[in-house]
Amino acid sequence: MLTAKEIIETLRTKFNNHIIKADEKVSNQVFVRVVPDTLVPLIRFLSKTLSPRFLINAGTDLVRQDGKYLVSYIFSFDSDKIFLCIEVAVDAAAPDIDSITPIIAGANWSERETRDLLGINLRNHPDPRRLVLADDWPQGLYPLRRDFPYDYKPPSEPQNKVHLKKPPEGTKVIPIGPFYPVLEEPAYFKLFVDGETVVDCDYRGFYNHRGIEKIGDTKLTYNQICFMAERICGICGFIHSTCYCEAVEQAAGIEVPLRAHYIRTIMLELERIHSHLLWLGIATHIIGFDTLLMQAWRIREPVMWLCEKISGNRKTYGMNLIGGVRRDIPHQMHDKIITVIEKIERETLEVIDAVMGDTSLHVRLKDVGILTEEVGRSICTVGPTARGSGIPIDSRVDHPYAAYDRINFEVAVESGCDIWARTLVRLKETMESIKIVKQCLLEMPDGPIMGEVMEEIPSGREAICCVEAPRGEAVHYVQTGQDNRPYRWRVRAPTYPNLQCIPNIIKGERIADVPIIIGSLDPCYSCTERMAVVDVKTGVEKLYTKEEIIKR
């Protein structure tokens, strides 16, 4: 097993002259600053030798401090429970950087996002098209730079429209989206098909930007962001607020009481239970099995009531604050929770039995949407999508947060690589979650639910936190700042890496299977797209009609 020191040691021996500084700022989180030219060789060396998993990169505007942009590449050593953050400071006068996507395919979107929002130009990127910004966003305007006001509304420049790939010879185009009957959120898959078979596809998403990160580092305070973070996702919001809080707490060294950790764990697992049951319903609805949809959602409903009893809301609990939680789960409620959970356990077991024995479900789900382990690793997929392909990663075990280091549970891993394997992973996880909630209620110690928080959180610190959402891990990276707010807050939702594997897994499949394949990743577009500055919805739609009129 590697330790943080060994990682620094290894890098120092190989790249000593090029490392500006390297230290373990937070326990098990290594931050290494290197000179820009060393970035690509260093990452090539890393991926060949230690092969950490790429999580995300984040760009920070440090122009006012030292005239540079800081780009941080965050990696995870899963079995060693260590985060590694490689930082590069590029000159603001010529913000160019070499792309690492040729080495790590999963860095594709993340690098383009940094380019779109901060204006870091990429050299040698295989697909440098605009990703995050709206089609009519002006050239040369970068919303995440500090001199860009959070409420500025730029003029429309429709000529910047992103051009999707041209269909290969002999194929037809079938559009899935931007609004498709069973995929309830906006996302556009342009499928290139030969007869019934999908040859390739292109994706345009990010129709639903809300500029949350920008508001986070210009307008809100530390504690307000907890509530904003919870609104990143409509299903797994608590994951994001927990992840943000833990990142800030680690950066600032705030001690959180054990009881608060347990309460967070319980809420996170309740969220996983209802999210997985929701997914089961949607997935079976996509293939027309409405009876299972109705049953899964009926079973799910008491969890929502339970959450309402605990927090006052079915969703968006608003329970997290820096340093702890706002609401206790009093002893009187334990029996109630156990009763509800045990009923869900019984009914879920019945559903699992029915699903396992249903041969017609096997016909639709087995050997469809194959994501091989190799592709899954190269695209850096996470969560049940990765675990269904035999990649045993789960940040509850790999980077324990909340009370997970005190909890016994199994990580569900399947090696089938198909939709069926992903289904099995989710079903098993639901049962594990039920166990975890029960164990938490038993072991939860008495005590305060809010820790001591210093008057002012010191600035200039940074930390990374991963939280295992139902769809995979969410990553939050926080740099503390002045004025009671973070200097930079970077969010990566689990669907972000998972969506990038879609071209790979629908290649060679039939059109009729595409909705269920996309659905099998449990995609959550709105979480993924948290980032632009103005609501672009109307602008984009107008643009499309105009274009279409011109074509006609």
Binding site: H285, I287, R364
Partner: protein, 312 residues
């Protein structure tokens, strides 16, 4: 004068369009209600299907720009005409056996294709990609299930040595229902499977596939034209099982209370089976359905024909 009006009355009022339509909509409600109970829902009130049709009838009819207007409007009417006629004949031959005519079995078999044809014509005329996909899937499905369907009707013909309903019914009155024989039971099973496809129910609702192609042909239909499609479906729900009862389950006897009770229970058993199958299966893919019908289903149908020829 009255004599001339009689067939019109048979076709439009009793036992054709109005009677089968009203009854069919009622059983459509039974279907929805039972499905709801299986899915732990409350389900609609008994008049829901009538209300649906009534509401659709006074809603605006939108004909999509660029569609083929004539086929778009004619398609639902063709389907309705076909099913009304088929239903009338099936009822009439059972009520009054002398109403049977030579080859009426063949005629009914073809009339039952008309609603599918209507979906194909309507879908092709809609100028909507989802509708065209629906139309082409419907066509594939018709090719898939018509072969075993015709084969099992052949079973009945071989057994009774006749293509007239009257003889088939009389044969069953004398020798007992055909389902009691080896070939008859195989034929009934195949008929049931084909019926699921004809009714466009799960696992064969591929041409409509609400979650894939938003209803296929029906995507562009609205108002009265949609109402006609819905009514056609409701009448199919009654008429196709009646066809099965007439061919293999001993026919329909409405001359006595006992006969009516027997008929109702036969029909309800079939209906409950249909509902159970449809609510416990996901949708198959079109290629899987094609393989299923042209593989095992056709094989069973062939066996049933051979058994019938051997007199079993």
């Amino acid at each position: 004068m009255l004599e001339i009006l009689k067939p019109v009355f048979y076709l439009l009022i009793f036992p054709g369009l109005l009677f089968t339509g009203v009854l069919g909509l009622f059983f459509m409600w039974v279907d929805r209600k039972v499905t709801a109970l299986i899915q732990s829902r409350i389900g609609p009130p008994w008049y829901q299907c009538y209300a649906d049709i009534g509401k659709l009838l006074y809603k605006q009819v939108i004909i999509p720009a660029g569609s083929n207007r004539l086929s778009f409007v004619a398609a639902p009417l063709i389907g309705l005409a076909g099913i009304s006629l088929a239903a009338s004949i099936i009822w009439m031959v059972n009520i009054n056996k002398s109403a049977s005519f030579i080859g009426d079995l063949i005629v009914v078999m073809y009339l039952f294709v008309l609603p599918s044809l209507a979906l194909i014509i309507g879908g092709a005329a809609s100028r909507n990609p989802f509708s065209s996909v629906g139309a082409s899937r419907e066509m594939t499905m018709v090719f898939a299930y018509e072969l075993p369907f015709i084969l099992i009707i052949l079973t009945a013909v071989i057994k009774t040595r006749s293509i007239i309903f009257e003889d088939i019914i009389t044969y069953q009155l004398l020798n007992g229902a055909m389902i009691a024989s080896a070939s008859g039971i195989l034929a009934s099973i195949v008929f049931f499977i084909c019926m699921m496809a004809k009714l466009c129910y799960l696992p064969f609702d591929i041409p409509e596939a609400e979650s894939e192609i938003i209803g296929g042909t029906l995507a562009e239909y609205s108002g009265a034209l949609l109402a006609i499609f819905k009514l056609t479906n409701a009448m199919m729900l009654l008429a196709v099982p009646l066809f099965l009862i007439t061919l293999f389950l001993g026919g329909i006897d409405v001359s006595s209370i006992k006969g009516i009770v027997l008929l109702t229970s036969k029909y309800l058993i079939i209906l409950v089976l249909v509902i159970l199958v449809k609510s416990t299966h996901p949708r198959l893919r079109i290629d899987q359905a094609l393989k299923f019908f042209l593989g095992p289903v056709t094989a069973i149908a062939v066996i049933s024909v051979i058994l019938a020829a051997l007199g079993v």
